[in-house]
């Protein structure tokens, strides 16, 4: 399997899941931006990124999510990272992004967050 492949799956109305490959770096950072932008244009408010098999993320990969999350949030949605490994979490922590990004333990929690976030206050 291509270690840089990014796949997409609709979970429910307004929610889409993107699965990373084993690597998210300068080779596929643009694809990630494109996937997020396309999802946003396709009326998906919540973009869940499954990082269960992600082994390496470079700062270009981080920048790809960072550069798009603001725009997603501005339109009332969010990007949710889940199944994040300890190694990847360490990098996010080093960059002081652990609390900036919405990070959930697993898909169930991520989906629950989407439901909660959608509920009007």
């Amino acid at each position: 399997m291509n270690m840089h492949a990014i796949t997409q799956q609709k979970l429910r109305t307004g929610v889409v899941k993107l699965c990373t490959g084993r690597m998210l770096d300068n080779n596929n950072a643009h694809e990630m931006i494109e996937a997020i932008t396309n999802a946003q244009h396709s009326e998906y408010k919540f973009i869940m990124i499954d990082m269960s098999i992600l082994e390496f993320i470079s700062s270009a990969g981080v920048g790809a999510i960072l550069g798009t999350v603001g725009l997603v949030r501005e339109s009332g949605g969010d990007i949710i990272l889940y199944n994040v490994s300890i190694t990847i979490m360490h990098i996010l922590r080093v960059l002081d992004l652990e609390e900036y990004f919405t990070i959930k333990e697993n898909e169930k929690e991520a989906l629950a967050y989407c439901g909660t976030a959608e509920t009007p206050a």
Binding site: D25, G63, A64, L66, R93
Partner: protein, 539 residues
């Protein structure tokens, strides 16, 4: 907010992460030279490192401070209007940043000239602007938005940013240079793709490294299987020019490749599936400053069509010559017939008048006219019936025989004939009758040329000699000589400068020379004389 992790270890991790990512970017660029992608990846790296969602880079070619800039952005800076302000800011503030380096946007308020754009970019969320410098040349600006955690940039962030910028600036400059080389290479390849010759570049070991479009087309026409089975790149010289399709090409190309300055092999024949093709093949070397291994450039110029036109023209000329010859022969014969008819009529009148003496004179003139006509028709037959039967002949002996009977003729009576024959001349394969005719015609012309000067005596020198695998025969006279125009047309077409000549004698000589594969040189000066030099191959 987790600020507790900005420890020494965390800072080191961040720098390593940044350098790893930048290093990976530059190595990827060398494999896939996409400049836009490289700069975009730089932005992603910087934004990732600084934890800033918004980032932009405005770059221009090193040495170019004009408007030829490229801009790239992430996050909110992708807004077109924001991008326009950032570009304007980069143009206005470039010099300042070259001097001041990295500046917090808050501090820009102090610079009056930048007030307008400062207000704009500050309101659009730019926090830090920094120059991209390479060898102290400004190649662009980078702008970074606020940190996503809301925290101010601290000294560690600034140090990391400086490290990253110091790394990416030369990478951008090198990428530009690399891109320029790639574009230049593409440009040259496009040029050679548009020339009408097929061009093949072979490396020092004789392997094809480059072929232009015309080269591929030529091979596709001559050897479709070769092209259909894949690219021509990587083929050896032997496979590119197989002996069956390109007889003797490989050997000649190899020999020509060793000649300094290259060589043109003219009219090389390639055996095509439908028709043979004729090429002028140029072989040259490309020397490299950095390598002792020279490449070979082979260019094929298809001259099949021009050769066919040439042949057609030649045939038309021959046809026209035949037509002109027939017309000329009719004209000459009519002249003779008119003279003979006139002579018969005069004779008839004289006889009727009983003037037998005058009738006898008229009959003499009639006889002369008929003999002249006979000479003319004999000349024609000589020209038409030249069949070559070569046999081993002693040329010196042949010349001696000819001179023994020709010099007693009246036209040679006052001519001093000198013979200088090489003693060790080998026997040669010639048609002795034809060569004898060539010598006699040349000697007769020499005698006539001497007579034309009006001098009481003349001199003809006949020499033989050997040059490589040819026998040289020279006949020199001190006659009237000939003009360059006459000299150029000699042997090629019916030509005479003599009052009573018909021109077929020289045409016959031309045919004899051609029949023997011989060559000739003429050295002539009007008023001084002429030297004919014939080079006759020994076999």
């Amino acid at each position: 907010m987790s600020l507790s992790l900005t420890t020494d270890q965390a800072i080191t991790d961040r720098r390593l992460l940044a350098l790893d990512a930048l290093s990976a970017l530059s190595s990827q660029f060398s494999r896939d030279p996409d400049f836009g992608r490289l700069i975009s990846a730089f932005i992603l790296t910087i934004s990732g490192q600084c934890a800033a969602a918004d980032c932009f880079i405005v770059v221009h070619q090193p040495g170019d401070t004009g408007d030829a800039t490229l801009s790239f952005a992430t996050g909110r800076f992708t807004n077109l209007e924001t991008a326009r302000y950032l570009r304007e800011f980069a143009l206005k503030g470039g010099t300042l940043h070259k001097e001041q380096g990295l500046i917090a946007v808050n501090d820009l308020a102090a610079y009056e000239t930048l007030t307008d754009v400062y207000v704009e970019i500050e309101s659009r969320g730019v926090s830090i602007v920094a120059p991209l410098l390479c060898d102290e040349q400004l190649i662009g600006l980078i702008g970074i938005g606020k940190r996503v955690d809301g925290r101010q940039y601290n000294a560690d962030d600034i140090a990391l940013l400086r490290t990253s910028l110091n790394t990416i600036s030369p990478l951008i400059a090198n990428a530009y240079l690399f891109l320029e080389i790639v574009n230049l290479n593409k440009w040259y390849l496009q040029i050679i793709d548009h020339i009408k010759q097929g061009v093949f570049v072979l490396d020092a070991s004789g392997i094809v490294r480059k072929v232009n479009r015309r080269g591929t087309d030529i091979m596709a026409a001559l050897a479709p299987n070769m092209v259909n089975s894949g690219t021509l790149i990587g083929l050896s010289l032997e496979c590119l020019f197989p002996e069956k399709l390109f007889p003797n090409w490989r050997q000649k190309i190899l020999e020509a490749g060793n000649i300094p300055g290259g060589k043109i092999l003219e009219s090389m024949i390639a055996k095509g599936p439908l028709q043979d093709k004729i090429f002028n093949v140029r072989i040259g070397k490309i020397e490299h400053e950095l390598s002792s291994h020279a490449e070979t450039v082979i260019s094929l110029d298809d001259i099949t069509k021009s050769k066919a036109s040439e042949q057609r023209l030649f045939e038309l000329e021959k046809l026209a010559e035949k037509g002109a010859m027939a017309s000329s022969i009719s004209h000459e014969l009519n002249n003779f017939l008119a003279m003979i008819l006139g002579g018969v009529e005069i004779t008839e009148i004289m006889i009727k008048k009983g003037e037998h003496g005058r009738a006898g004179n008229a009959l003499d003139r009639l006889k002369n006219n008929i003999m002249q006509m006979e000479r003319f028709t004999t000349g024609l037959m000589d020209y038409a019936r030249l069949e070559t039967r070569k046999q081993s002949t002693d040329l010196n002996h042949l010349i001696s025989d000819i001179l023994s009977f020709i010099t007693v003729q009246k036209r040679f009576a006052k001519i001093d004939t000198v013979i200088q024959l090489a003693p060790d001349l080998p026997q040669i394969e010639i048609d002795s009758d034809q060569i004898a005719q060539l010598i006699i015609n040349t000697l007769n012309n020499a005698a006539d040329a001497i007579a034309e000067t009006g001098r009481p005596a003349g001199r003809i020198v006949i020499t033989t000699g050997r040059e490589s695998d040819h026998i040289l025969l020279t006949i020199t006279d001190n006659g009237c000589g000939m003009t360059p125009d006459v000299k150029d047309r000699l042997f090629k077409q019916r030509l005479t400068t003599k009052e009573k000549g018909h021109g077929y004698g020289l045409m016959t000589c031309g045919k004899i020379i051609a029949n023997h594969g011989a060559a000739f040189d003429i050295d002539s000066t009007v008023g001084s004389g002429t030297t004919f030099c014939f080079r006759i191959p020994m076999a």
